[in-house]
Symmetry: C2
Subunit: 262 residues, 2 copies
DNA sequence: CGCCCGCTTGAGCCGCTTCAATGCTCGTGG
DNA sequence: CCACGAGCATTGAAGCGGCTCAAGCGGGCG
């Protein structure tokens, strides 16, 4: 289920290992993605869609491989014209929107395998800022090519729709969090979500490093950074987690889930 | 700008209404002429896309015209299998999601022209409940037909993508509201939003009737119903609006906008 | 016509925020 | 390699915005 990988953060091939199975016989020598972009998540996409040889090369020709964004750099800002949709090949970003007064709302933390930029399709402009939380690499495809390829390759089209639909479903989950949960539940939900996404990528789901600041987390959860910090400390005392600044170990995942009411 | 009309709806949970029942399944054969469905928003859609005569008839054949949902009835509930995407031809719905404990979060109030059900595309199941706030009529199209038609008619495909993208952008706006705004701003934003949507449909944008309860509004805004009621009363005293239960007149739209910070 | 259900309004409280001070980390440059 | 400093995180204390609990009212629907 590729689309789950892209939207929710489940399994995505993270090293060239699994991709090396696409032998040279599979594609045109000049069009091989994995020589330049071993982790390219677009590759996972078209493999999933079960494209023919011709389709695969058609697909691959349109991928802009390997755009690097250093930590702290913008991929783009709100208001700029939609050029490409991107898939994160490695790294971690932050998505945020701002109002006139400079208030910021973090709306997501996309990571490896996630497709980003879909909110721009409606208006032709990105509606949010995207900043790298760590050095990241992305592959892009011009939106016009997305449409053309979708038209040429129904399986691709289908997957694209599923990814967009999953994004809408994800957003509804965040609305629930922001509208109906208390602070402790929000923080627990956040931790479980991050844990799950790391685990789905083959990393430890119980011991990881948070790449974002307390302020970022707080904004995402609709809280103040002090509140987030206090709840982390409380969870620490309760032995639910062991946390040291950005280093987190989940010690009692069952009770965390229980706290969320699951 | 058809797709703008489609943008506003999404769903949320609500629970325990004994008067609500699941509506009957679609029973009509689909080839009804749109003379039976004079306002059919799908018609607006294919007009907008500039289809040829042949395409238009191809399109029209797949539309299931005129499903009626009475006030208080569900269009569907969370968890049920995705059958069709619907466009609201007339009426007003409420979209909501629920958790295990019965907590409800209203995620939108789709109205005439809005396309609904897109969150189900990712998983094949609706993620939210949709209830009619007033007697409503909808036209549906099976999702499989959506895909096929999109493939056959690029202009349709393109518009569909724009609608989905716009929905994602809309969701981000709600996240900002829920995560970053104070109660007064939320209520003002809500009133301005409803006003704008009525105006866009040719109704008065300054004098209208709210079809949802205070509880629904409160849930949508992440507040308690008493808070919403108090703020309405406050706005009334401030001469920003004249409100009597569900009947609202916007008296000072400029100051409302100012309150939101726009 | 009568009875709920939904709306309004008040009073008191609590969870989260605000304000403030200190400590820690990491990146930077010497 | 270390010293420095700025930004980030933690923690405490006090305040307040929105919530909880409660009572009364009005209007739509059966």
């Amino acid at each position: 289920m590729w689309y789950r990988a892209v939207v929710m953060g489940s399994g995505v091939p993270k090293q060239g290992r699994s991709l090396s199975r696409i032998g040279p016989a599979d594609s045109r020598p000049s069009a091989l993605p994995h020589s330049e972009c071993p982790n390219c998540s677009f590759v996972a996409w078209y493999r999933h869609a079960g494209l023919s040889l011709h389709e695969a090369s058609q697909f691959n020709e349109r991928v802009e491989h390997r755009r690097l964004v250093k930590r702290g750099e913008y991929l783009h800002q709100a208001g700029s014209a939609l050029m490409s949709l991107h898939v994160i090949c490695s790294g971690f970003l932050k998505t945020s929107i701002t109002d006139g007064d400079g208030r910021e709302q973090v709306t997501g933390f996309p990571m490896t395998g996630n497709l980003i930029g879909m909110e721009a399709i409606g208006s032709g402009k990105y509606m949010c800022n995207r900043i790298a939380l760590e050095d990241s690499s992305l592959c892009g495809m011009r939106y016009a090519d997305f449409e053309e390829l979708g038209h040429a390759i129904p399986a691709f089209q289908h997957d694209f729709h599923r990814v967009m639909g999953a994004e809408i479903a994800r957003d509804q989950g965040i609305m629930f969090l922001l509208g109906a949960m208390r602070a402790e539940e929000r923080v627990a939900t956040f931790l479980l979500n991050i844990s799950k996404r790391f685990a789905a990528r083959g990393y430890s789901g119980t011991h990881f490093r948070l790449p974002m600041t307390r302020q970022d987390i707080a904004s995402y959860l609709g809280l103040k950074l002090e509140t987030v910090s206090r709840i982390f400390s409380r969870f620490n005392k309760m032995q639910l987690i062991a946390i040291n600044v950005k280093d987190v170990e989940i010690k009692n995942i069952a009770r965390l889930q229980q706290l969320v009411g699951d």
